[in-house]
């Protein structure tokens, strides 16, 4: 392993050819190192533990791991408060472990990306300590300082549950510092070229270690400007373009994934210039889609989804959305109207403990009342709507949550591997676990774990694996155009994914009751649809509306193979 940059570092395998656009077809898996597997019995998951589970992830069909922050941190914000960008959190292991993780993942054809917080550091970071103690020193200008707390007053406060201002007074330096998130996370001052260079160095450090990319946390907030809401500023985009250029020059098959919880029309800016195919981030999360999937199924009508898809702009050719049902954060409701938010709270967070900031803190299965049909339908939607799907660890087995744990810890409990002590996550004393394992009668680890589900071909785990397999067989899911179809039934969402002759038809019943639907498929006259899970050919498409019936929360995926010659009647 050389730390000297090479034009095309050869860190990725072995048999598979290099593919600069791999992320467009990939299935991502968000893994919490702390919660996945504990190799040394200290009650906290670690990198070696994760390495020991790579075979499982490969078996499941995962293409890319997304790691939450694994850097040195006082852990006041789950590691998003980084106190040293170049060190691994000792709880998790060391740089040697990390290099091994990347290597072992690559051997299995999997990639690894990690969260990187660009916007701020921990107040424990040496940069901040230097900045507050020595205002005229080399780090004096690394953060946003002010003599008063009145500037940038148009910027909203994001963590409204805990913070009252974006400014906090530092008695040491005798000035206020700017922070968009917690007060112990001062924002870096990107107006300072030295900060810009320092962060590029951080990126290069990890890229040299073989990492396949970053999820860039909280990118809209890098710069501030008076009279604006301090989000999505042109300076921020210019800096991202610079980062992309530096990454592309030395590491052409890496990926930058923007976390910008904004409307799609604003997020699309983070892909950069469409003429170039995209020259900022390769990927960005599609935040508003997820709450609307929940809303559509609960309302049993497709309009919440149709609406957001219709509002989603086209993205540059080499870019991709990241889509998800659940992740480590709350189910965020920032991107819905007030009326929709009230509705979501009524439907999905009846207990106030289920709410956090502007969102809902639950896992997928409890959100859906552990209804297997609904979980399958949601998984099918995740795998078929445009974008690369991001699974959240544990959701593939339908893990539960613990709303009695503070903040967002309720959805970050140990992965349930076996029915043994500590769910097979760790062999420490149960009292030493970083968080207790789920033990309730429905979601408890004795009944619900990977081992049991691997043995049961009818389990949710096998279902999820199967859907991933099908998705990966049909690249059109990752690459194809999305067109919603004319459907006679408001409870049925039907769409076609299309890439040349490669076409998939997806029909989803959002209602719990069985439904018929007539689809206008005249464009595909003469084609014989073939169902994807079993390969059964369905009746050929004619000129008349195509009739399908779906069970409650049922769905179909069909391939539409091209016909050799148009069937003409005379």
């Amino acid at each position: 392993m050389s730390l000297t940059p090479q034009p095309v570092p050869n860190t990725f395998t072995h048999e598979k050819p290099r593919d600069p656009h791999w992320y467009k077809r990939a299935v991502f898996y968000e893994v919490l190192i702390r919660g996945f597997a504990d190799s040394n019995g200290d009650g906290t998951g670690d990198i070696r533990g994760l390495i020991s589970k790579l075979d499982y992830l490969q078996w499941l069909g995962v293409d890319c791991l997304w790691l939450l922050p694994l850097y040195e941190s006082p852990l006041k914000d789950g590691g998003y408060d980084i106190s040293d960008f170049m060190k691994i959190l000792p709880d998790f292991g060391d740089l040697g472990d990390f290099i091994k993780l990347v290597d072992e993942a690559h051997k299995r054809g999997m990639r690894v990306i990690a969260d990187l917080v660009m916007n701020h550091t921990s107040d424990q970071h040496p940069w901040f300590q230097a900045s507050r103690h020595d205002p005229t020193g080399p780090f004096g200008d690394f953060y946003v300082w002010s003599d008063n707390n009145e500037e940038y007053s148009d910027a909203r406060i994001i963590f409204i549950d805990t913070e009252t201002s974006n400014w906090t007074y530092d008695p040491v330096r005798g000035q206020y510092y700017w922070h968009r998130f917690f007060h112990h996370q001062p924002d870096l001052n990107y107006e300072n070229p030295a900060v810009q260079d320092a962060m590029v160095e951080v990126l290069n450090f990890w890229l040299d270690l073989g990492i396949d990319g970053f999820r860039l946390d909280a990118v809209p907030y890098l710069f501030e400007q008076e009279g604006t809401n301090c989000e999505n500023l042109p300076q921020t985009h210019a800096y991202l373009k610079r980062i992309r250029k530096e990454v592309d020059a030395l590491y052409p098959d890496r990926v930058l994934l923007a976390e910008a919880n904004q409307w799609p029309a604003d997020v699309v800016e983070y892909f950069g210039d469409p003429v170039t195919g995209g020259d900022e981030c390769h990927m960005a999360f599609h935040f508003p889609l997820m709450p609307r999937i929940f809303m559509a199924v609960r309302r049993e009508t497709r309009y919440p989804i149709s609406e957001i898809m219709a509002q989603t702009p086209k993205i540059p050719d080499h870019c991709q959305w990241g889509i998800f049902l659940r992740n480590h954060d709350e189910l965020t409701l920032e991107m819905v109207t007030d009326e929709e938010r009230d509705y979501m709270y009524t439907e999905y967070a009846k207990d106030p403990r289920m709410r956090a900031n502007v969102g809902i803190r639950r896992r997928l299965a409890p959100l859906l009342e552990n209804d297997r049909n609904q979980i399958e339908l949601f998984t099918a939607l995740l795998m078929s709507l445009p974008g690369s799907p991001v699974l959240y660890y544990g959701d593939e087995i339908g893990m539960g949550d613990n709303i009695w744990l503070g903040d967002r810890d309720g959805v970050r409990t140990p992965m349930q591997w076996t029915p043994d002590r500590n769910a097979g996550f760790s062999d420490c004393d149960p009292g030493r676990l970083y968080l207790p394992v789920i033990m309730d009668p429905i979601y408890g680890y004795q009944a619900l774990n990977v081992e049991a589900q691997q043995k049961n071909p009818g389990s949710l785990l096998h279902f999820t694996k199967k859907m991933i397999e099908i998705r990966k067989r049909h690249h059109v899911f990752g690459l194809g155009e999305f067109t919603e179809l004319n459907s006679s039934n408001p409870s049925v969402l039907a769409f076609v994914r299309e890439l040349g002759d490669d076409r998939v038809l997806c029909v989803n019943n959002l209602s719990r009751f069985p439904q018929p639907v007539e689809l206008d498929l005249r464009r595909f006259e003469g084609v014989t649809p073939v169902e994807c899970t079993g390969g059964v050919p369905f009746p050929p498409i004619g000129e008349l509306p195509y009739l399908l019936t779906l069970p409650g929360h049922g769905f179909y995926w069909f391939t539409l193979p091209p016909t050799s010659a148009a069937t003409e009647e005379t």
């Binding site: 609960r298 309302r299 049993e300 009508t301 309009y303 149709s306 609406e307 898809m309 219709a310 009326e339 929709e340 509705y343 009524t346 439907e347 919603e484 179809l485 004319n486 459907s487 006679s488 039934n489 408001p490 409870s491 299309e498 040349g500 002759d501 209602s511 719990r512 009751f513 206008d520 005249r522 464009r523 595909f524 006259e525 003469g526 000129e543 008349l544 509306p545 091209p562 016909t563 148009a566 003409e568 009647e569 005379t570």
Partner: protein, 475 residues
């Protein structure tokens, strides 16, 4: 054995859904105007390149058979004293291909006649005629200024329509052929064009129309609008919500049920208010003076009495209605009237991904054009929609084994969505306060009286739906 075309049509027409004179013998059927439509020449483009519209599949269709002819007919059908006009599109082929056998009319000296609206190989001539603004015989094809039409799309006949035949071209246009022809400009064409000119987002964009002169009067034969491929009608959506409520755990209120529809009802109310505002701006308005209001109330009373004589069970509820009518007569205030939709209910509104879109500004079909264009209070539309919410909530209860247990849920759903619709209507700038509410209630009860008679005659098991309007306190 060959018949004349007229003989064949007389046998065929009585089986058509849109034929208004069912059950009575036809005294005479005559062709009033016949126009042969060119399948070649200026209109050729429509079948020359179909592949262009078919995405990736290259499906060049063979040129249309030379021996096909298509004739546009206006016929008169006399049944004793009554005479109606109909519009037909008849194709003739030496042989009928299998796909057209189901619309065969019979063998004539000109070949096998068939209902050509079902022949996607020839219906393109309607689109290309509209696109080019052609004059063919007495038929005038016209389009809205500055629009473009893709004439290569193939058509499909929409099923199950009472008085028209609609052709959907690709998923772009819907062309409504008015089967029974009433001389004059169709109110829908008139209203939709005017609203489109004002930029209203709550209508389906108009593209063009076909007209001719009948009895010296300019008469609309067909109207082509934007097709809304991913839309569904309000009735289907509302029933989805009601079904969900009925299937929820006991004790779930309409507000708590996952399928709550109130937000949609509010949006629909706002769209309705905007539409009324545009209609008032686009067309003349007027005032119905107090004495006329009194006469109108007399009309309501007569309607109610007639309903009671036909459905005696209504008598015990009549007090509620009379009281409402009295209050309206007593207001002594004039009523502002304007162009309205006229037949407004959940089945006439479509939810598209962006907006509620209102269809069918034709007024009540079957009524004379004069009446369908008459000015009225916009609250008549509001009353129609409120009744429709009641129907949506209760119609699943007809013959339902648990109807009694579900009735309170139905009432709650109706109440919640009626209130939400009215809130949206007010928020959108529609006026409902003070005397307006009195008028609205009278209009609604009058409409319910009409429904009582209709259900008693046609669907007795639905009779409790309009009856409930009299026994419940309407919100």
């Amino acid at each position: 054995m060959r018949h004349t075309l007229e003989e064949l049509l007389a046998g065929w027409i009585t089986h058509q859904r849109w034929f208004a004179g069912k059950g009575r013998a036809i005294t005479e059927l005559a062709v009033e105007a016949a126009t042969t439509l060119p399948l070649r020449g200026p209109a050729e483009s429509f079948h020359s390149d179909v592949a262009g519209s078919c995405g990736t599949t290259d499906r060049r269709r063979p040129p249309t058979d030379d021996r096909v002819t298509v004739r546009h007919l206006v016929i008169t059908v006399r049944q004793d004293a009554r005479t109606d006009r109909y519009q037909l599109l008849i194709g003739f082929r030496p042989e009928l291909p299998q796909r057209l056998k189901h619309v065969a009319i019979g063998e004539t000296p000109d070949g096998h006649a068939y209902d050509a609206v079902h022949d996607a190989e020839v219906t393109g001539l309607l689109l290309s005629g509209i696109a080019s603004g052609a004059d063919i015989g007495g038929l005038r094809f016209r389009h809205m200024p500055g629009i473009e039409i893709d004439t290569a799309l193939r058509s499909l006949v929409l099923g199950a329509e009472q008085s028209n035949t609609s052709l959907v071209f690709g998923d772009a246009y819907i062309c409504k052929l008015f089967r029974k022809i009433v001389p004059g400009v169709n109110p829908e064409l008139e209203v939709v064009s005017a609203l489109a000119e004002r930029g209203s987002p709550n209508i389906a964009k108009p593209y063009g129309w076909i007209e001719t002169d009948i009895g010296g009067e300019n008469t609309t034969l067909a109207f082509t609008q934007e097709f809304l491929p991913t839309a569904s009608d309000g009735w289907a959506l509302a029933l989805t919500s009601v079904r969900d409520l009925y299937g929820s755990l006991p004790g779930t209120t309409a507000a708590e049920a996952g399928g709550d529809f109130a937000a949609e009802s509010t949006r629909l109310g706002m769209a309705t208010a905007h539409l009324h505002k545009e209609l008032a701006a686009a067309f003349p308005t007027s005032t119905v003076e107090a004495p006329e209001v009194k006469r109108m109330v007399e009309g309501f009373r007569r309607r109610l009495e007639a309903a009671i004589s036909e459905v005696p069970g209504l008598a015990e509820h009549a007090g509620v209605a009379h009281e409402a009518f009295d209050r309206l007569a007593d207001t002594g205030r004039p009523i502002t009237v304007q162009r309205v939709h006229g037949d407004y209910h959940l089945g006439q509104v479509m939810r598209t991904p962006g907006e509620w879109v209102v269809l069918d500004f034709e007024g009540e079909p079957g009524q004379p054009l004069q009446e369908r264009r008459a000015l009225d209070s916009p609250l008549r539309d509001v009353a129609g929609m409120l009744r429709s919410f009641d129907y949506a909530a209760r119609h699943l209860l007809a013959d339902h084994p648990e109807a009694k247990e579900l009735e309170p849920l139905a009432a709650e759903w109706a109440q919640r969505n009626r209130a939400a619709f009215i809130a949206g209507y007010s928020a959108g700038g529609g006026r409902i306060h003070g005397d307006d509410a009195v008028l609205l209630r009278a209009l609604e009860l009058s409409k319910a009286a009409y429904e009582v008679v209709y259900e008693a005659r046609n669907r007795p098991s639905w009779l409790p739906i309009p009856l409930a309007a009299f026994s419940h306190d309407l919100g």
